[in-house]
């Protein structure tokens, strides 16, 4: 008898098949979603936990819900999913390696600084000088909120641009200042400062995503709102003071001029070129050309708008913070309220 695969693998296949059963309809015994959530959060008493577990072991539906909760909890918040892997590797692998390299470069730099060569420092490009200024101005331990906010709309905070931009920048500037080791060391210090700020910003965002986050933490995540076009080839980031950035795989994050200075709170992108955004004080803006031009639309109310959905450039519905609901069928020329 031919043995295509080792028996062990095939036992797994048998096991997988035996355990495979489609989730059925909800029954009277099924656990409420909130109780499943409480079970996941370890908020149930011992007796309640045991009850849920004994039901889970025999209910494919509730078991599937638990698996979904775990899978969703594992997914990161507010970033393009294409970048997820890159960001993970950047923070968990590349960052420590880069930091180690930087420490070595700094050590070399410190040794060379004992005998400074002014003529070599003078060779450093303006870009390098600028970085040095930035590094000097950067507070030793900036508040997490400031770090987060200053980077929120900057292309360098998001995963795809972070990897590309910082490494290209670093490589280019290292070439410019290849001869003067002291300048390289200073550049490395600047890069280290940038990485520390970036790391603090990322930590802040992660902390903000946790349920125990304070109100201040919440504000940090607020500026990282992102919407996607239906095919996910375009992402829009929007936030405080009318800041907008657009992402494509080709261009990465590019800041755009929204033409407004109010905080933007929600957006909808029914196609790659069309995007609607709403925000505080009745702000409504729309682009029809991928963000090259943003058009300010006359609002039906001056209150804050906190949610919007749009099916195309003409049809959109939005909700105010007071619960008022408005719809347009003509691109925002007229608004109706049910």
């Amino acid at each position: 008898m031919a043995k295509a695969k080792p028996s062990g693998d095939n036992f797994d296949a048998m096991l997988r098949r035996e355990l495979r059963s489609a989730p059925g309809a909800s029954t009277a015994e099924c656990v409420e979603p909130e109780v499943l959530a409480a079970y996941y959060d370890r908020s149930l008493s011992r007796a309640e936990r045991d009850g849920v577990e004994s039901h889970l072991a025999s209910c494919p539906r509730c078991l599937s819900m638990m698996a979904s909760i775990a899978r969703a909890d594992d997914s990161d918040v507010a970033r393009p999913h294409e970048a997820a892997g890159g960001f993970f590797w950047l923070t968990r692998v590349l960052a420590p390696i880069t930091m180690l390299g930087i420490v070595i470069v700094i050590a070399i730099g410190i040794r060379n600084r004992e005998q400074p060569k002014p003529e070599m420092i003078a060779l450093a490009s303006p870009a390098v000088s600028q970085k040095l200024d930035l590094a000097e101005r950067a507070p030793a331990a900036p508040p997490a909120f400031e770090a987060s906010e200053s980077r929120a709309i900057s292309p360098s905070i998001s995963a795809p641009p972070v990897a590309g931009t910082s490494h290209e920048e670093y490589g280019l500037q290292t070439q410019r200042a290849s001869a003067p080791r002291a300048a390289v060391a200073d550049l490395a210090s600047a890069a280290q400062s940038r990485m520390q700020i970036q790391s603090r910003a990322a930590n802040s965002m992660a902390a903000g995503a946790a349920s125990s986050g304070s109100i201040a933490m919440t504000a940090k995540v607020a500026i990282a709102n992102i919407v996607y076009s239906p095919d996910r080839s375009v992402a829009w980031r929007f936030g405080t003071a009318g800041t907008i950035a657009r992402w494509t795989s080709a261009s990465g994050w590019l800041p755009q001029r929204s033409g407004v200075s109010t905080d933007l709170l929600a957006a909808a992108s029914p196609s790659n070129d069309v995007c609607w955004m709403v925000g505080k004080s009745g702000t409504i803006i729309r682009t029809l050309d991928g963000g090259a031009h943003w058009q300010l639309i006359a609002p039906p109310s001056r209150k804050n708008f906190i949610a919007i959905t749009a099916s195309d450039s003409n049809n959109a519905s939005m909700v105010g913070a007071d619960g008022a609901h408005f719809s347009t069928r003509d691109g925002g020329v007229t608004w109706s309220s049910p």
Binding site: A37, S68, A70, D73, D74, S75, V221, A307
Partner: protein
């Protein structure tokens, strides 16, 4: 069983309400609103009737999230801004992770977002009822939203599957045309499935859950560890142990009760990777009516 006096219950509720009010100070959450929410939460819990400790229950409630939910339900703009900033990204990323399909995820997240505001509810057309009314603070808001998304996704998949053609008999016949030794092959496979199912049923609830998460839902060890409250290495070790014991017990049962030879067991393994030639855990299709009765009679090799 802990029977608490009405005075003590009142005192406990007042303490819990004070906590909620404290967290909701920025949004002017009133004590009356907090108490009303607590009353609904306690009613939904139903633990008092079972004699569970109210003190423990109130202690376990997420006061901060409840305060935010109360303020949002009350239409406080500042609370909504906080909610949008913190939970909108979570809702959409959770929907994407659960649905694994962008359009389905958007559909579920959009409709849920609308219901959180309350625009999709209110049968009378005037009363605004938010989905947050159903949040009782037993878990974090984030996990609660994930659970709702998961529930809606499952219901959505189930409702879409009702329209899929299911020609099991035809598929069954075409799949089994390449076995010349029918029905012996079928019978062996079915016996294997029955024995495996029975052995699985004897496992403890936790062992079955671990296996299901790993083999059925294909979760990572980290995800299973979080679900089970165990360390990843513990999950790995227990999975390996359960799998080994399961396999040994299945093979022992096949040899002892059904007198299957090592070659026959190997035959089952060899064909396990094929598209299911039979429906595990179900009666065989009508094409082979004799097999079902043989199985019930406990026929063996």
């Amino acid at each position: 069983m802990t029977a608490e006096s009405p005075l003590k219950l009142k005192k406990l509720c007042a303490g819990a309400a004070a906590r909620i009010v404290r967290f909701g100070a920025n949004w002017n959450v009133s004590e009356a609103a907090a108490l009303e929410t607590l009353a609904r939460s306690i009613e939904s819990w139903g633990g008092l009737a079972r004699g569970n400790s109210l003190e423990d229950y109130l202690e376990s409630l997420r006061a901060e999230d409840l305060a935010l939910a109360i303020a949002c339900r009350g239409g406080v703009a500042a609370a909504w801004e906080t909610f949008i900033g913190k939970y909108r990204p979570i809702l959409y990323s959770s929907a994407r992770a659960i649905c694994r399909d962008e359009s389905a995820a958007r559909e579920i997240a959009d409709s849920m977002w609308a219901e959180l505001y309350g625009i999709a509810n209110g049968a009378d057309g005037t009363k605004r009822r938010s989905l947050l009314d159903y949040f009782h603070g037993r878990s974090s808001l984030a996990t609660w939203m994930r659970a709702i998304v998961a529930q809606r996704h499952i219901d959505s998949v189930r409702s879409s599957q009702r329209f899929d053609p299911l020609d099991e008999t035809e598929a069954f016949v075409s799949r089994n045309n390449n076995h010349n030794d029918e029905p012996a092959h079928l019978r062996m496979m079915e016996i294997f499935a029955v024995v495996l199912g029975a052995t699985l049923a004897k496992l403890s609830a936790k062992d079955r859950m671990r296996l299901s998460y790993y083999y059925r839902d294909e979760l990572t060890l980290r995800e299973i560890a979080r679900l089970m409250g165990e360390h990843e290495s513990t999950i790995s070790r227990k999975l390996e142990r359960t799998r080994g014991e399961l396999r040994a017990n299945v093979e022992r049962e096949l040899r002892k009760t059904h007198r299957m030879s090592a070659e026959q067991i190997q035959h089952c393994y060899d064909h396990a990777a094929e598209d299911a030639p039979f429906r595990f855990g179900a009666e065989p299709p009508a094409a082979n009516p004799g097999l079902a009765s043989q199985k019930k009679e406990g026929g063996s090799f």
